[in-house]
């Protein structure tokens, strides 16, 4: 599967408090959360993001709290993929679990700039910067994670397991 979109670029240690501030966690409704996504570091994000756009950041994306509201807010905003040099571990699990596509690629995260048009292929892991004509290869997912993704997420995986299918 391929996605393509305009890039919103952020730096190191984008924490879950800026992805979705705790003052908005009194509801887990994606429609409510997306209105406040990135509000404290990029107040224009919620108004400017379009379906299919791509978020790119540097190291340790999603550090901080375990709130699944963070990847839910990003996904509900219309973001089709988050590329980072690496992800904080709870955010990584949560993104896989709720079906927000993520890719780890330090080279792409270093080279891609805000506003670039980027295309990515989930199957091959190839990330292409259409603005600069550069190509990058993301780290492949471990087999076990691929199995969860193939099952359609952790919920389906657990369902199959409880039924004795796995």
């Amino acid at each position: 599967m391929k996605v393509q979109g305009k890039v919103f670029k952020y730096g190191n240690n984008v924490d879950t408090d800026v992805i979705i501030p705790a003052r908005y966690l009194n509801s887990a409704d994606p429609e409510h959360l997306k209105q406040h996504c990135m509000e404290d570091i990029d107040p224009a994000f919620a108004g400017n993001v379009k379906t299919g756009d791509i978020m790119v950041a540097d190291k340790n994306f999603g550090c901080g709290s375990s709130r699944e509201h963070a990847p839910i807010a990003i996904k509900a905003s219309g973001i089709s993929l988050v590329i980072a040099a690496d992800f904080a571990r709870i955010f990584y699990r949560n993104a896989i679990n709720i079906g927000l596509p993520i890719m780890e690629c330090p080279e792409a995260s270093a080279a891609i700039r805000s506003g670039d048009q980027v295309e990515a292929d989930f199957d091959s892991g190839i990330i292409r910067n259409l603005t600069t004509n550069e190509e990058f290869k993301a780290k492949p997912f471990p087999e076990f994670i691929k199995r969860i993704i193939d099952e359609g997420g952790l919920v389906n995986y657990t369902k199959s397991k409880l039924k004795g299918g796995i």
């Binding site: 240690n13 408090d17 009194n26 375990s66 709130r67 994670i145 369902k159 409880l162």
Partner: protein
């Protein structure tokens, strides 16, 4: 195959003779935890899964502590959702506000004797890593993981690599577990232990009480750690004897020890006698300074409490400093005992009177201001010295407010002086 303490616990819970770093395993869970923010989305997933019952009604702990007593209608709905689910599922570890065992999740789970050495615990709260202080493996997850764990009693883990933190020497006066963990985070950065275990060891741990160890493990997540863990020693055994004599008498716990030749990707040596009173300036827990060096910073508020520093010893330290002193005019000082037990002990032993005489605001147990929920939100331009765990942009209120993280003695001295201060000044 030589294993770390964490790896041994995980291997045992996965039913495997051994594991190595990088292995993906499925492990059985002794306890599964959620709060009022993370549990409602998990309940939705649980219902969608079409599962009728949790895997074990005695192993799910639900603690409404974040936005409670409810700050608004929406958060009241969240608590109601958790309350109804707990009643339907007949959960034995649901904690209602005001009950004797109630409080902030990571204060009450150890203190009520719910977690013991050798347990594996996951919680939909990043500070679930706190229980490593007891020689257990515990780590934070999200709501979907919580839902699946409530249904199946299992979850998947990538077996972590480990960093050994060798603590030697005796900490100086007023130097607490908080100073030690902030010092470590300052050394390695907010991603310095990403995906890894922090395994504490060394002669210095005998000087660290259980409350100090809980504070240290609590903040393992602030350098990206999967878990922080202490070896089990006499201090651990004395603690669990007190928290749950019944479980203790049944020997329902297991002591795991790292192999001598276990592999660590790095060893960090810290001489506790050289750890200064440490704080973290905005906006990262790794932005550490000696408190001594930033004494000119004026403040508007002080918060003493949270899952990091709301325990009995924290309250005792605070009372020792506040006794005979008063919070500086123009500063609000909010004291939040971390549980009803801690609150009651503060009441019985006269600590609340000391706080009241000093001009502190005393709150019922809640996470409240730590995550900018309620009970002490900051306005634009305001600065707070706080014993909580995060100082990210907007964490305690307005995006232009600032949080400085510190241990209890520095927070109390700062409240009295109206600026960043050290207890020796009082």
């Amino acid at each position: 195959m030589a294993m770390t303490m964490t790896q041994k616990i995980l291997a045992a819970h996965a039913g495997l003779p051994s594991v190595k770093a990088g292995d993906l395993i499925e492990a059985g869970l002794d306890k599964v935890l959620g709060n009022d923010v993370t549990t409602p989305p998990a309940i939705k997933v649980f219902e969608k899964m079409g599962v009728d019952q949790v895997y074990d009604k005695d192993r799910i702990c639900l603690v409404p502590d974040h936005f409670t007593p409810n700050k608004d209608i929406k958060s009241a709905e969240l608590s109601k959702c958790v309350r109804c689910f707990a009643a339907e599922q007949k959960l034995s570890h649901y904690y209602e506000l005001g009950e004797k065992g109630m409080g902030i999740e990571h204060v009450i789970l150890p203190d009520n004797g719910i977690v013991f050495p050798g347990d594996v615990v996951i919680g939909a709260d990043s500070h679930t890593c706190t229980y490593g202080a007891l020689g257990a493996f515990s780590t934070g997850v999200g709501s979907t993981d919580l839902a699946c764990a409530m249904a199946s009693g299992q979850t998947w883990f990538k077996v972590p690599e480990a960093i050994r933190v060798n603590l030697t020497g005796k900490p100086g006066r007023y130097v607490t577990g908080k100073d030690i963990i902030l010092h470590l985070i300052g050394m390695i950065g907010v991603d310095g232990a990403l995906y890894k275990s922090l395994e504490f060891c060394g002669d210095g741990i005998k000087y660290l009480s259980m409350d100090q160890r809980l504070t240290i493990c609590n903040m393992a997540i602030e350098c990206g750690g999967k878990n922080g863990i202490f070896p089990v020693d006499d201090i651990t055994i004395d603690y669990i004897k007190g928290t749950n004599p019944e479980r203790f008498s049944e020997s329902d716990y297991k002591i795991y020890e790292a192999d001598d030749d276990a592999e660590y990707i790095r060893t960090i040596d810290i001489d506790l006698s050289e750890v200064p009173l440490t704080l973290a300036l905005p906006h990262l827990p790794s932005n550490t300074r000696r408190a001594e060096d930033v004494k000119d910073m004026l403040i508007d508020q002080v918060v003493i409490g949270s899952c990091t520093n709301g325990r009995w010893e924290d309250m005792v330290m605070a009372a020792d400093i506040f006794k005979g002193h008063h919070v500086r005019k123009g500063v609000r000082c909010i004291v939040i005992p971390g549980s009803m037990k801690v609150y009651r002990k503060c009441l019985d032993e006269g600590l609340l009177a000391i706080f009241d005489d000093a001009g502190c605001i005393i709150s019922t147990p809640t996470c409240g201001p730590c995550l900018g929920g309620h009970m002490g939100i900051l306005a634009a331009g305001e600065r707070c010295v706080s014993t909580t765990n995060r100082n990210f942009v907007g964490r305690m209120g307005h995006v232009d407010s600032e949080v400085i993280l510190s241990g209890v003695p520095v927070a109390c001295a700062s409240a009295i002086m109206g600026r960043v201060a050290v207890p020796e000044e009082i």
